[in-house]
Amino acid sequence: MRLTLSLLMVAALANIAFAADEITLTADHQKFTPSELSIPAGVKTKIVIRNQNAVPVEFESYDLSREIIVPGHGETAIYVGPLEAGSYQFFNDFDHDMKGSISVKARGN
């Protein structure tokens, strides 16, 4: 029973996005790519932030209470969630025009 249930959940997750538990966000020049990340609701997700610039980037989100400096040409991983469906904004605290959002979608949508 338990096993079937978890298998079903895995299948459902795999449907939404492959390796839903880890995504990469790249900071290059003046923007984040992708500027809108999509993750499923209710799942703890690892976001690897890769900074291609020579200068540090501070990934910050008031919505998620996250704040982390990524050194120039470096990378850092943070965890978010499990989150409820909705939109969560983030930005580079060293350059507020550089921003993006995380779109969290309920499963089954």
Partner: protein
């Protein structure tokens, strides 16, 4: 240039407001200026080291160590603010009456001088390291480097000025209400910093979030706005707090409040 000024202003604002409150609240304590100044100096050194670590030691320091350091610095500041407030609630009232008449030189050994220094150190170190990194980023950013540095410097000066205004404002509060007002300010400040620390500890995974975004008041007052930022520093306003942040806020507030009551309870009169 203006964007640079605004970012530096925000970085400096938090430290500036905290120092203003601490300086205001410690009015009448002998030598406090020297302690606060040495805290600021040590904080700047700490900030430079952290900035260097974040850059040179790069990936080993980024991520968890960085967030843990932030949480430790914040919680250290909370403990010092608590100590300061509890001490003040026990001794502050005599201080306000005696100090001005005779120049206060009694038992300085027991006074929370180290607390003053460490609060300043924590505030300057935390915000300072980001300011240093940011300035370094624009200085090496090429083209408009010089122009942006001037903007950044303008932001620093503006941030310090706002702190100065708050300090001068605090000094205008009548002595009768003074300790009441400043101890409330410190209480709220400490609770807010504790909530920030909780955010970092959750980021690292040491603490559960206990629910993300228990409520969301971004629509009413965005934390991005200047006023939102101001309230964030002063009273710990978070537009979209997680459960653990609320828990830390309330827990810290209640603990310090009770300690103040216990230690200051046998004084003649309550504030006000």
């Amino acid at each position: 240039m203006l964007a640079t000024a605004i970012i530096m202003f925000r970085e400096v604002l938090e430290a500036s407001l905290i120092i203003a409150i601490v300086l205001g609240a410690s009015r009448g304590i002998e030598n406090r200026g020297r302690w606060v100044a040495s805290g600021a100096l040590l904080g700047l050194m700490g900030a430079a080291i952290v900035a260097l670590l974040a850059n040179v030691a790069s990936s080993e320091f980024s991520g968890n160590p960085q967030a843990l350091l932030n949480a430790a610095v914040l919680l250290g500041a909370v403990a010092m603010l608590a100590w300061h407030n509890v001490w003040m609630s026990a001794h502050g009232r005599q201080l306000s009456t005696e100090a001005r008449a005779i120049g206060a030189d009694v038992e300085s050994g027991q006074r929370p001088m180290a607390a003053l220094m460490l609060i300043t150190l924590a505030a300057v170190m935390r915000e300072g390291s980001e300011a240093v990194l940011f300035l370094w980023a624009i200085a090496t950013g090429g083209e408009q480097g010089a122009n942006m540095l001037i903007g950044g410097l303008g932001g620093v000066i503006a941030g310090i000025l706002v702190g100065l205004l708050l300090y001068l404002g605090l000094l205008r509060i009548p002595t009768r209400h003074f300790f009441g007002v400043t101890s409330w300010l410190i209480l709220l400040l400490a609770a807010g910093l504790a909530a920030q620390a909780a955010g970092f500890l959750n980021q690292v995974g040491v603490l559960p979030s206990l629910g993300n975004g228990i409520w969301n008041t971004s629509g009413i007052l965005s934390q991005n706005s200047l006023f939102g930022q101001f309230l964030h520093v002063l009273i710990g306003y978070i537009a979209r707090p997680s459960g653990i942040q609320i828990l830390f806020y309330v827990g810290t507030f209640a603990s310090i409040f009770l300690l103040m009551r216990t230690c200051g309870g046998n004084r003649k009169k309550k504030a006000g």
